[in-house]
Each structure stands twice: as C-alpha cells, then as structure tokens.
C-alpha cells in the first residue's frame, strides 16, 4: 500500500517536472561504496551490494522520467591497482549482476533497455567478458532506452583507442590506394579528421551526456567521459553512492532545468 502511494506521488512529481526540459543522457560515477562499508562497520563488499540496489533505484527513476541514455562508471582501468581479492570480488559481483540483468523480470526487459559495455573489454577475465558480450547480444533488439556500463574504461584509453583505430583505418585505405598505383601520403595534409576519431570512441553510440553525477562530494571526473563532457552539467552531491535517493535525483533535474538554456546555447556554438 505504502509503495503504491509512493509510486503514485513520484509519478505526479515527474509529471510536473516534464513541463520543463528533461535530460536525454545522465551519467553516474558511483563513488563511496567502500566508505559506506567502513562507516556502518559492514563486511567487505557489503557497500557494493547496497550500492547495486541504489543503482537499480536510480535507473528506475531515470527511465520513468524519460531519460533515454544512462551511463555508469562501473570499473576503471585504474581500479585494477586495488588488491587482487578486491578486484576479484568486484568481478564476481559484476558477473552475478549481469546474469541477473538478463532475467525475464529484470529492469532491462521492463523498460526495453539495450545494454552496452564500453571500455577495453580485453582487460577483463574471460567469464566476465563473455557474460558482457552475451548481455549485449541478448538486449540488441531493445530500443526504448540504453544503459551503458563502463568497465575497464578510462577516457585517455578511449581516446588512444579511437586514435589507434583511425590510424589503422587510414593505413588500410593507403594500402589499398598503393596496391592500385603508387600513393605517397603528404605529411602536410591531415588525413585523420576529428570526425574519424569521434566515430571510433567507445561511447560513439550515445549522445554527449547532459549531466554527470559523482557522489561522495568529490569534484573530479577521474578519467570518465572527459571527451564527451564539454557542455555537461557536473553535479557532486556529498551523499555516498549507496545512500543516493529520490531527493538527490529530483534536485539535480531541477538544477539542470535552471541552466539547460545556457547548456543548449553552448552546444549549438560547437
């Protein structure tokens, strides 16, 4: 009964919010799981499990409001520096949750979500990589919304990978031209254009984010979506990730609506 009333109230609030602009793409840096574990004296890994429930709630709010793209920073390449036990427990949690996502009654099927895993997936262990590929294949036909999970990801690695792909593409073109009659590339001509690099980014399937939310009050992006966040509203609530809720979500949407005209103007200038 309580849940029904809460859901109804939330839908009313979203109805009012929809009068103003709604973001198309929101990204989350889920920071603060370990601090949460420490603060509440929980067992190791418990913070991440509570964090997963917080993530499901935030996804529900996003898709109910009509946000089409959601991106989450699940695991950075820098996180491989953690202790092997911690990395393994995070990989196990990820494997577990990917399997859960693919179940019939999961949020993915409820909202028609297509799942992408963005990052250098070759750095992942085989079971996780295979599960990720399976999840991408299983949800390929969904078209109502998109969930992008950044694993083994950093922006600098993404940029480097895009540059590398662009070089390989141009090399193939040059080889082809050479085989049909000598072609000497001119050093003064820029063969690689900005559009070539952009189309090879891991996140090329999604538009640039409108909002990036990083919890725990930290004000840095930690190598996340640096390329895509030029005209993006950066929000850093002090709450830890497992504690994030509807209140913070509502506040960020209202703040986005206050400055959306300015952000839109900046985007059009590019």
């Amino acid at each position: 009964m309580y849940d029904t009333i809460v859901n109804f109230l939330r839908k009313c609030i979203f109805y009012v919010l929809s009068v103003g602009p709604i973001p198309n793409h929101i990204a989350f840096i889920m920071d603060g799981n370990r601090r949460y574990t420490k603060r509440w004296n929980l067992m190791q890994g418990a913070g991440h499990k509570v964090g997963y429930s917080a993530l499901m709630s935030m996804l529900k709010y996003c898709y109910e409001l009509g946000v089409r793209y959601v991106t989450i920073y699940a695991f950075s390449i820098d996180n491989f520096k953690r202790t092997p036990e911690e990395v393994q427990s995070l990989m196990d949690l990820m494997l577990d949750k990917i399997e859960e996502l693919l179940k019939e009654e999961s949020i993915v099927n409820r909202y028609g979500i297509r799942v992408y895993f963005s990052g250098n997936l070759k750095l992942l262990s085989e079971p996780v990589r295979l599960a990720a590929e399976r999840a991408m294949l299983a949800t390929a036909k969904n078209s109502k919304a998109v969930l992008s999970i950044c694993v083994a990801y950093t922006s600098t690695n993404e940029i480097l990978h895009a540059v590398q792909e662009s070089c390989e593409e141009k090399w193939d073109e040059i080889t082809l031209l050479n085989s049909s009659g000598g072609y000497e590339p001119d050093e003064n001509v820029n063969l690689i254009k900005l559009t070539d690099i952009e189309k090879h980014m891991y996140m090329a399937f999604a538009p640039d984010p409108d909002i990036i939310i990083r919890t725990s009050g930290e004000t840095r992006l930690s190598n996340f979506l640096l390329w895509q966040s030029a005209n993006c509203y950066l929000y850093s609530p002090s709450v830890l990730w497992p504690e994030i809720g509807f209140r913070q979500f509502l506040w960020v949407i209202l703040n986005f609506q206050r400055i959306q005209v300015y952000l839109d103007k900046k985007r059009k200038q590019v």
Partner: protein, 272 residues
C-alpha cells in the same frame, strides 16, 4: 407522415449524437487546458522557490567571502598553497573580453604564490588578448611547450598559458596525424591484430609536438553560469579537481581562498 429514409435517419442520429458529443468534447478540452495551466503553475512555483533558496545561499556565501577576504575566519588564514602546482581557470567566452577582471584574478593568484596558470576559454578570445594581458600584468611569462613541467615550478615569475578549443579535441586530431605518419613510416606494424600500437606517453609527446602539451592542472576553477568545463583539453583533466566559482563579474578574493582551501583538504586514491 413521410417515413424517414435510412440515409436521412443516419444523418439525424449523427446530429443527435454530435449534439451530445460536443459538450463532452468541450468539457475534456477545458479539463485539459486547466490541467496544463495548473502543471505549468506548479513547475514555475517550484522553480521560484529554488531561485529563492539560491538567492539566500548566495547572500550567505557573499558574507562568508567578505569575512574570508578580511582575514576574520581563522580556518582560511593559512593555506598549503604548495599543494597546487598547476592551476587552470575556465572562463565563459562572453566574459573573456573582461580583461580587467582577468588581470585582477591573476594578481590575486600571483600574490598567493601560484606558479603556473592555464587560462582557458572555448573560443580562444583570451588567446587573442594575450598580448594585452601580458602587458598589463607584468608578473608572468608566457608558457612555451619546450618547458619541462618540473622546470615551470622553479621559475621566479608565474608562467601563464592560454588554452582554447584548438588545444582540446582539435589538438588530439592533429596529434593523431603525427602518430599516423610514424605508423606509416614503420610500415604499419601490428595493424589489425588487436595489439596496442601506441602508448599514452606517445600520445602525450605527440600533443606536445603539435603545441598543445601543457601540464595537468591540480585544480580547475570555472568562472561561468554553470559547473561545466566547456571543453578544457580532455587529455589533461584526468584527476583535476573541478570547482565552480560563479560568474566572472561576481568573483571575490574570499571565494578564491575558500576554493583553494577546499582543494587542500582533498585526498585522492587514484583508483586504488
């Protein structure tokens, strides 16, 4: 009495039902209109309350800033300024022509002992005014890409760097072409085999070659209407703390001190 023909009967029934439907439609139309008006009013009311909250907190911040500037708040009296090796300032392009504000800000930073400042605006208006700024603010030398980063901190005067969109995404495209030429000369080794051809340090070197290889700022201060970095070079922002200072026209010395103090209390794990 003439009997009614089917078409005429159908027409009469239609007219009667339309007489019934018309007020119903009008009712739905007006309910819809009233609902839209109420929704809009609610939305505007919520935003007016938020604007009022921001106005109030703005007053509080202005007072706090004034107290900090006067040195009345003990917490901000001693700053560990050495923690900031490289500072970046992002300025909204519409404010970039306010060179007097920019120079005043640089003077505050020089007085605090900041050794390297990168001034960024997306359209490059600050770059165009760099001669005027360097002339009027004689406490700085222009940053050269040939400088090694550790040498910058040993300079007696502040090093000033002017950055724009040209040094961001466009520089990455130019650096990609430098790497492409190297790749072609090496004969395309490792092509399409899934191997990593370039390293991040090679990318950094290529950026330096094309004239866009400055240091990574420790702290980035945004002077504009929103907390948004407006395209500051992505390659240089991995672990940069980003703080929003409000519009350039409302800048205060106290808010600058507060932002720097806040930075000095941060502890980073770098992913660990």
């Amino acid at each position: 009495m003439k009997s009614l023909t089917p078409p005429l009967l159908r027409c009469l029934c239609l007219n009667r039902s339309m007489d019934f439907i018309r007020p119903k439609r009008m009712l739905y139309f007006w309910i819809d209109k009233i609902r839209n008006v109420l929704l809009r009013l609610s939305w505007h009311l919520v935003h007016s309350i938020i604007n009022l909250c921001y106005f109030t907190t703005g007053m509080v911040h202005a007072l706090e800033s004034h107290l900090i500037s006067r040195g009345l708040l003990r917490k901000y009296k001693s700053l560990h300024i050495s923690k900031i090796r490289y500072l970046a300032i992002v300025i909204e392009s519409e404010d970039a022509c306010r060179t007097s504000n920019v120079i005043e800000l640089l003077q505050w930073l020089a007085a605090l002992g900041i050794k390297h400042v990168s001034l960024y605006d997306n359209e490059g208006l600050l770059k165009k005014s760099k001669d005027i700024i360097l002339e009027k603010f004689d406490g700085a030398v222009l940053f050269q890409d040939t400088h090694e980063n550790n040498v910058l901190l040993d300079q007696p005067r502040m090093t000033l760097e002017f950055v724009s969109f040209y040094d961001g995404k466009e520089a990455v495209a130019r650096a990609a072409n430098v790497l492409l030429m190297k790749y072609i000369k090496s004969g395309g080794i490792g092509s399409n085999q899934g191997e990593q051809i370039f390293t991040e340090s090679q990318m950094s070197e290529a950026l330096k070659t094309v004239g866009s290889g400055g240091p990574e700022p420790d702290l980035l201060l945004i002077y504009g209407p929103a907390r948004c970095h407006l395209g500051f070079p992505a390659w240089r922002m991995r672990y940069t703390e980003i703080q929003h200072m409000g519009p350039l026209t409302c800048m205060t010395y106290g808010s600058l001190i507060k932002a720097i103090y806040r930075f000095t209390t941060v502890r980073q794990n770098y992913g660990k």
